[in-house]
């Protein structure tokens, strides 16, 4: 019995940090409507800076002062980030905001390694809370008790801040109706900046307070952000009480889940999240989300199938690509195969994002499931390569069918967070279920059969499948189903009113995208000869997002160009520098801020403008005025 009580208290102590970070995310979202992906990075930086300060300054004053100063320093950095970056993207689509703040996260990861080195850092114990308290033969660290008290205290302070101060009233008003608050003459810029600073302060404090409990390392940002996303999905974005209750719930589920499913404890959290989503899709304490806003200025011209000339041009490009083995060496052919595989992966996500309007932040899950499907079939069942390539992606299909069912119940930022959390769950299963997946060691020796083994043959295979995938997805875009999917994206209200079951259409699209991603993963397993949990990692999901964005999210198949450019650049970059994440993150931020239409989108806009100016005599606006005046 005592053991369970101690386990419960450990869970409560973990909840404190999680609550601090989640409440910060919620407060920022409430006012600015930005889901700050970089919140995990601020948490991590808070821990690193506090580590340095507490090592440098001795004594109780040095320790506690160091923690507070670290959080304040990060808040100051937050102010800078808000003024330089966020102010430029408040009116961008949610997807771009998530991506920009994710780019920031990538940059911080490399910076942290650059400054503090790659090794885990073990910090000091907290002065005054070094011992443990005996509880019927079980030890409870006294620092845990401190954290258990701290959580509700912070909740109370936040409550007072929002209920009793003028600033708090303004924040609550802005959370309800930003435009009205602006119309009442409140300086919105300053309000947004201060709210962001408070949110970052809470995140950094959460990170700094972890020092006595956990080693500081450069992977803690993603670990915490996934947990925080789960917390806010359960608790409801924008609700501080919700963040508190859900943080406790998730921490307790983690604490007891380990006892029930020692190998895959995260399953329990997932099940609870699934139940909450079905009963209350906007979270326990949240409010139903307003429909995602459309971007002014990013108007979309109606898509059309390729003309005959364009088709011929595409075939010509394909023939040139197919001639590569006659001029290139083995290394280049392997790079070519990898690019072809990433074209498949990118177009699958592009289909979901552009046609379906569903920006998945965890698309790598289905890529990885396809890869693991092949590896398991080849190694355990010993099936021939063709059978593996056909059946392996079915694992991606099944994963997409299960997760997609829940994900399409939501939209916008909730959809993004949920897909990310699902991907992380799949990753944890691959990582923790060692007896089947080999855990961190992966599954080795998945080599192609003789007919496909040579680099040129494998290149042709990948190229052929990539071309097929692009063509099939294009056909689907212009099929009745594709139109129904776009209709659901454009106007859920109207599509429901003409008999379209939007959720089922989106679910189907999710399954199609997941299956095609699984196909890419299946080929990837054979290309590398092995599979690892990283094949479903977050960075791979983000790679795909960047490819789509680089190509142009409002185009039909811009992702093809995006994948080729990005992957080639990436492979070259990794060979040139150790700081590839820093460069990549900066690149992502740059695209979002300066280049939101992407390569193909910019080209299309340019062509469209030329066509229009050459036929400006019959401007549609003008003629419609004349005709209606008759």
């Amino acid at each position: 019995m005592a053991f369970y009580v101690v386990q419960f208290l450990t869970g409560l102590a973990s909840a404190a940090s999680l609550f601090l970070v989640a409440s910060g995310l919620s407060i920022i979202f409430g006012v600015t409507r930005i889901v700050n992906f970089a919140h995990g990075a601020f948490y991590m930086l808070g821990a690193y800076v506090a580590f340095t300060l507490t090592e440098r300054f001795a004594g109780a004053f040095g320790f506690w002062g160091g923690i507070v100063v670290a959080a304040l320093a990060l808040a100051a950095i937050g102010v800078l980030v808000e003024m330089v970056l966020l102010r430029r993207i408040y009116h961008s689509p949610e997807l771009f905001q998530l991506l920009a703040t994710f780019g920031l996260t990538l940059m911080v990861e490399d910076l942290v390694v650059l400054i503090w080195g790659p090794d885990d850092l073990v910090g000091r114990r907290a002065p005054g809370f070094k011992g443990a308290i005996d509880f019927f033969g079980q030890n409870i660290p006294s620092y845990d008790l401190f954290l258990i008290v701290l959580g509700p205290v912070v909740l109370g302070v936040l409550w007072l801040l929002f209920q009793r101060t003028r600033w708090g009233v303004l924040v609550r008003a802005a959370t309800q109706d930003r435009d009205m608050v602006a119309a009442l003459g409140v300086n919105q810029k300053w309000l947004f900046t201060s709210v962001f600073a408070l949110g970052v302060f809470l995140a950094a404090l959460g990170g700094a307070l972890q020092i006595p409990r956990d080693a500081v390392n450069h992977a803690m940002d993603l670990r915490v952000i996934v947990e925080v996303f789960v917390v806010v999905v359960i608790g409801g974005l924008g609700s501080i009480i919700g963040a508190f209750v859900a943080a406790v719930l998730v921490s307790e589920l983690n604490a007891f889940g380990i006892l029930i499913f020692p190998k895959i404890s995260i399953i329990l959290v997932f099940l609870v999240m699934a139940v909450v989503l079905i009963v209350r899709p906007w979270g326990l304490f949240g409010k139903p989300e307003a429909p995602a806003r459309r971007t002014p200025g990013l108007a979309v011209n109606p898509w059309r199938p390729l003309t005959t000339n364009e088709r011929l041009a595409a075939i010509a490009v394909l023939i040139v690509a197919a001639a590569l083995p006659f001029v290139a060496g083995n290394y280049l052919l392997t790079v070519g195969s990898e690019i072809a595989i990433f074209v498949i992966f990118a177009v699958s996500l592009h289909f979901l994002m552009s046609v379906g309007g569903l920006a998945s932040f965890g698309h790598a899950a289905y890529f990885g499931l396809g890869a693991y499907g092949v590896a398991l079939l080849a190694k355990m069942a010993g099936l021939p390569m063709i059978a593996c390539l056909l059946l392996g992606p079915l694992l991606g299909l099944m994963g997409a069918a299960v997760f997609g069912f829940f994900a399409v119940q939501l939209s916008g930022v909730y959809f993004a967070m949920l897909t990310l959390a699902f991907a992380q769950i799949v990753w944890s299963i691959a990582f923790q279920w060692v007896s089947v997946t080999g855990g961190d060691n992966g599954i080795l020796g998945v080599w192609p059969e003789k007919w496909a083994a040579s680099p040129s043959h494998f290149y042709w295979l990948s190229l052929g499948i990539a071309a097929l995938a692009v063509v099939i997805l294009r056909i689907i875009v212009f099929s009745p189903f594709g139109f129904a999917l776009r209709a659901t994206r454009d106007s859920p209200l109207r599509s429901e009113a003409i008999g379209i079951n939007g959720k089922r259409i989106q679910w189907t699209a999710f399954v199609i995208a997941g299956t095609v991603a699984g196909l890419a993963g299946a080929l990837f397993a054979y290309l590398k000869g092995s599979v690892f949990p990283d094949n479903m990692g977050i960075s791979l999901s983000v790679d795909a997002l960047v490819m789509v964005l680089l190509g142009g999210v409002e185009t039909v198949s811009g992702a093809v160009v995006g994948a080729i450019v990005y992957k080639a650049l990436n492979i070259w970059l990794v060979s040139q520098t150790d700081l590839s994440k820093l460069v990549l993150g900066g690149f992502v931020v740059l695209i979002v801020v300066a280049f939101p239409k992407g390569i193909v989108g910019t080209l299309e806009a340019f062509m469209h403008r030329r066509r229009k100016s050459s036929s400006s005599a019959s401007s549609p606006l003008l003629t419609s005025r004349i005709e209606s005046a008759e």
Partner: protein, 263 residues
Amino acid sequence: MSMVPTLLSVEGLTKSYGGVHAVRGVSFELRAGEILALIGPNGAGKSTCFDMLNGQNIPDSGRIRVLGAETTGKKPRVIWRMGVGRTFQIAATFPTMTVRENVQVALVSHGGQLFNLWASTGRHARDEAGRLLDLVGMGAYAERPCGELAYGDVKRLELAIALANQPKLLLMDEPTAGMAPRERVELMRLTARIAREQSIGVLFTEHDMDVVFEHADRILVLNRGTLIAEGSPEEVRGNAQVRAIYLGEGLLYDARHREGASA
């Protein structure tokens, strides 16, 4: 008149929100080819009533039947499949498609082809889409991007979409809201003509009393959730209770009308 079948029958429709009766025991009928206006001051329960008819809101009690089949509490998409088309107060169309494609999507849905992954939508029911667009006077705009249309044209396009399933009943929520006076008259004349030709029943809510008295065959007046008057425009105009509620607007209409006649 008794030969014309009852299209829509509403019995004892009731909805309340935490003690506030938004709609209380509303009953009425609508016949094929008839144009029925649902009016009332702000907060009278028009929108609540309307949303229960189109499936966006579920009544606490009461029954709604379309051609004898129960639609109470069914989802909007199901009600559409039972032959009910609708337009929205703020026109809802698909801005990233061409005008023709907008109608084609509705035809695809009507034809049960939503999960067809292979065929070309561009060729699906092209001519039928063209006919519907001609019907609302949008044939010349078929290949235009919907996002570039003037708002009055968007409204006409929406009407074409709403007609794609050959509805028996058309529900129009403030059809002329946000339109210029000339466009209002045009849209309502168009609607009335289509309703007569295809013997479609039309139920619409409206704030503009000119539109209501000009185009409705019959008028229902809601106040505080209950039906207080029902009848022809003449009868409703003469109703003392309606006049009391609608004092300003009703008198305004008369005054303007007389002015026009003398000029």
